[in-house]
């Protein structure tokens, strides 16, 4: 079927088991709200349009605590407004999905133009030292797959997961085939199996991820945005605070191999490797093919997981490539991470565009010839 990126997000969410959506209208993410307002009640789910984006994510977290897979969708300005609540979902370990269809900023910026300028907002938008999982999508098909992944990761690791899509991918229509029922792996949160009196809601386990009881299922416990002990009660004891914050990080970092996804195209012999994500990765692939036709050995590392940043993938291409090129629709957000991993091994070049237009294959090709 022919689907728009935002429509594919909806299909992915429903397939993943999402049954609650709260959101606030914002371009260019509004289609997600509109379609879910039609489809969620059909499957006994709930759609509600809240009074703002903070309220939207609050309702999403509440619904998830009551046991229903939940999400919201927004764009840069709305994402900025809701930033106190991703932090709550992180510290209280509540699974939920936030889709950010990126548009040009700062502030109201460019509501209908593409951008990739929320990469750092997704990483550090909420205050405090926290881990975060951020995924991206380059195609309509990937909007579907990554939405399912986002739900699976959120349920598995008990954390909010952010899906960053740029406006081009969100509004582009492409052919895609929807998976058969049995092809998609769906992960549901692990519930406690012990009797309520033995349940320790924020217990440190080998995986770092405690079992999660839903409200109303007999496990009465305390959920708070305050730093808490393993029972969920606020604590000011250093010997409880330290291990708790460490576990929040560890539960993500010890699962890097599962969370971090990337694609390598002809990087085995590449003198120059392009590191790209989102719609820019599509232009980069075209540029790579054309450069190869001209006899330049160019490869492409396409990041699918944005955060935690895939250091291992960059290190892998650094073993071969002496030049890296990072094209982005921002002033250089991921390129900083690439440079951090590079530590002077290769030359890292950027191609930044912030004029509201996409980065074309020609522009990348020209930059390749410049830096080659």
């Amino acid at each position: 079927m022919l689907l728009q990126g935002n429509e594919a997000v909806v299909e992915g969410a429903l397939r993943a088991g999402c049954r609650f959506f709260a959101g606030y209208p914002i371009t260019p993410a509004t289609e997600i709200s509109e379609i879910l307002s039609v489809k969620l009640p059909q499957v006994d789910g709930t759609f509600i349009q809240m009074e703002d984006e903070i309220a939207s994510l609050g309702a999403v977290i509440g619904a998830s605590l009551a046991g229903v897979k939940s999400m919201t969708a927004t764009s840069g300005p709305g994402f900025s407004l809701m930033q106190e609540n991703p932090g709550f979902a992180i510290i209280a370990e509540v699974p939920c999905v936030i889709v950010d269809v990126m548009r040009g900023g700062p502030s109201t910026g460019l509501p209908t133009f593409p951008s990739q300028s929320d990469v750092m907002q997704a990483r550090w938008g909420t205050h405090g030292d926290h881990p975060i999982i951020v995924l991206s999508a380059s195609t309509v098909r990937e909007c579907y797959d990554m939405t399912i992944k986002a739900f699976n990761f959120s349920e598995k690791f008990r954390t909010p997961v952010i899906l960053l899509i740029d406006e081009v991918v969100a509004h582009m229509r492409e052919k895609m085939v929807l998976s058969n029922e049995d092809e998609v792996e769906i992960f549901n949160r692990v519930k406690p199996t012990v009797p309520p009196e033995w349940y320790i809601p924020f217990e440190d386990t080998p995986s770092g991820i405690p079992a999660m009881a839903n409200f109303g299922e007999g496990y009465r416990y305390h959920v708070t945005g305050l730093t808490h002990d393993i029972r969920g009660f606020p604590t000011s004891r250093p010997d409880e605070i330290g291990p708790f914050i460490a576990r929040l990080h560890r539960k993500i970092s010890q699962h890097f191999s599962e969370i971090q996804m990337a694609e390598f195209f002809q990087t085995e012999d590449a003198d120059i490797t392009i590191v790209a994500y989102g719609s820019v990765a599509r232009s980069a692939k075209r540029a790579m093919i054309e450069a190869r036709e001209k006899g330049l050995k160019v490869g492409l590392l396409r990041l699918m997981t944005i955060w935690p940043f895939m250091r291992s993938a960059v290190e892998k291409v650094l073993q071969v490539s002496k030049t890296l090129l990072v094209p982005e629709m921002n002033m250089g957000q991921i390129s900083r991470e690439v440079k951090r991993v590079n530590r002077g091994v290769a030359k890292v070049f950027t191609l930044n565009k912030v004029d509201g237009t996409i980065i074309t294959p020609e522009e990348i090709l020209n930059r390749i010839t410049e830096v080659a």
Partner: protein, 278 residues
Amino acid sequence: MAEVTKLIHKYLRHDKKFPHVWCPGCGIGIMLGALIRAIDRVGHEKDEIVLVSGIGCSGRLPVYVDFNTLHTTHGRALTFATGVKLAKPSLKVIVIMGDGDAVAIGGNHFIHAARRNIDVTSIILNNSVYGMTGGQYSPTTPYGMRSSTTVYSNIEQAFKISELAVTAGAVFVGRGTVYHAKLLDSLIEKAILKEGFSVVEVIAHCHTQYGRQNRLGTAVEMMEWQRDHAVTVEKAAAMKPVELQDKIVIGILVDKELPVYQDEYEKIRERSKAAAGR
């Protein structure tokens, strides 16, 4: 065993480390007692109750009681409560807020939850001040009063929380004080039994901050002030606005019927399925 002891054993968390965070003489304890007695009389199972709070002195209330408890971000308690209620309507959702929570940072959520008629009970502790952060003025600090951030006197007019709730569309609104403990019991009980968005405003004293800065005396003296300035809704109806200026009108301000959000949404589900089947 005395009745109060039974209630303490049944509803307070045994594994939570007491003492609580509140100052000696604080009115929150009276509100908590009234809430527990009301829940006990209504007869809800502890598993069915979700107690949600915001930030501040009142925000610390849920941690002590043995329900599903959720201590959210400042002012956002009603948004979380909306999600819990709509995701699982069988749960009884009660929200505890302070005046800062309900009508400053969360004012928007408050009027919209009322307008939607979300089936939750809001209990708002109004002590006219931000107590936990050291006594700054709030949207309910009366004109002319002092606080840590209005040392030269407050030049803003105060919100009337209950009247705001009535205007925003709440189906049940009651106001009590921590002095009138029995009235508070019955207001909270009625609010919990009411289907739709119900509000109980609890006028309380903060002798530690507001009282000290305005030389209003001890906790007991401030409660005596509540006693001396409270007039019932019935009495107030016959009084002139000028006579009511420094009075607290207590009792039930509104009790009406409106379609409840979750029931209306169930109809939407049926309509959507019928439309999809066509």
